[in-house]
């Protein structure tokens, strides 16, 4: 599962993307647990960031599939 980071999430992760190794579908809670274990700097992002797949925000119950590309979207502030 490829994970993309932007703005504050990229700064927290220290990289623009990361490959999270999983063979199974993940709940969003499981995703964050695995991601924070790999990138501890992202811990604070879990409370504020939203997740997106195919450029669409995930809903709270959506599962993440192993071949998904997931974007970690920190609170937006454009305009």
């Amino acid at each position: 599962m490829k994970v993309l980071f932007f703005a504050h999430s990229r700064q927290a992760a220290g990289c623009a993307d990361y490959v999270l190794k999983t063979d199974a579908a993940l709940t969003q809670a499981q995703f964050w647990t695995m991601l924070i274990a790999a990138c501890p700097g992202l811990a604070a992002q879990q409370k504020t960031a939203r997740l997106a797949r195919k450029e669409t925000y995930l809903q709270s119950g959506d599962l993440l599939q192993p071949d998904d590309e997931i974007a970690v979207i920190p609170p937006v502030s454009g305009g």
Binding site: F6, A7, E55, Y57, A71, I73, G78, G79
Partner: protein, 129 residues
């Protein structure tokens, strides 16, 4: 409805030139510029750095416009958002809406900018000094 979205590192010209002439139905053009303010609380701002998840930003904007144009039929919308370093006093965003009458243009502009600030993946960050 005609839609034009531009994410650019170039300064936003004022007034911006529409790429097409006003339509025969257009009786109003409502425009908004968002400016980088020099003061933020007690601090001073010299510039801000903007970045975008560009493809998703455009997709979200188009989805918002599709919903809003059902409520406020308009002829055209043009959005320009600047990326990279934007100095104080310069425009970070421009939104222009052509409509038959002014009311739907004002209402669409207000709601579009409100929705933009909730969901469009563009970020402003302190520029590196």
């Amino acid at each position: 409805m005609q839609i034009e979205i531009v994410l650019t590192k170039k300064p936003i010209a004022r007034p911006p030139a529409w790429l097409v002439p006003f339509g025969a139905e257009t009786g109003s053009l409502v425009e908004f510029y968002g400016i980088v303010r020099e003061t933020e609380g007690a601090g001073k701002v010299h510039s801000l750095q903007y970045e975008a998840y560009g493809s998703m930003a455009e997709k979200v904007m188009r989805e918002k416009i599709a919903l809003l144009e059902k409520k406020y039929p308009c002829q055209a919308i043009r959005i320009v958002h600047r990326l990279g370093v934007v100095p104080k006093g310069e425009s970070a965003i421009y939104v222009g809406i052509q409509s038959r009458h002014r009311q739907e243009g004002f209402l669409m502009l207000q709601e579009f900018v409100d929705e933009f600030k909730k969901d469009v993946p563009i970020w402003k960050m302190k520029a590196a000094s």
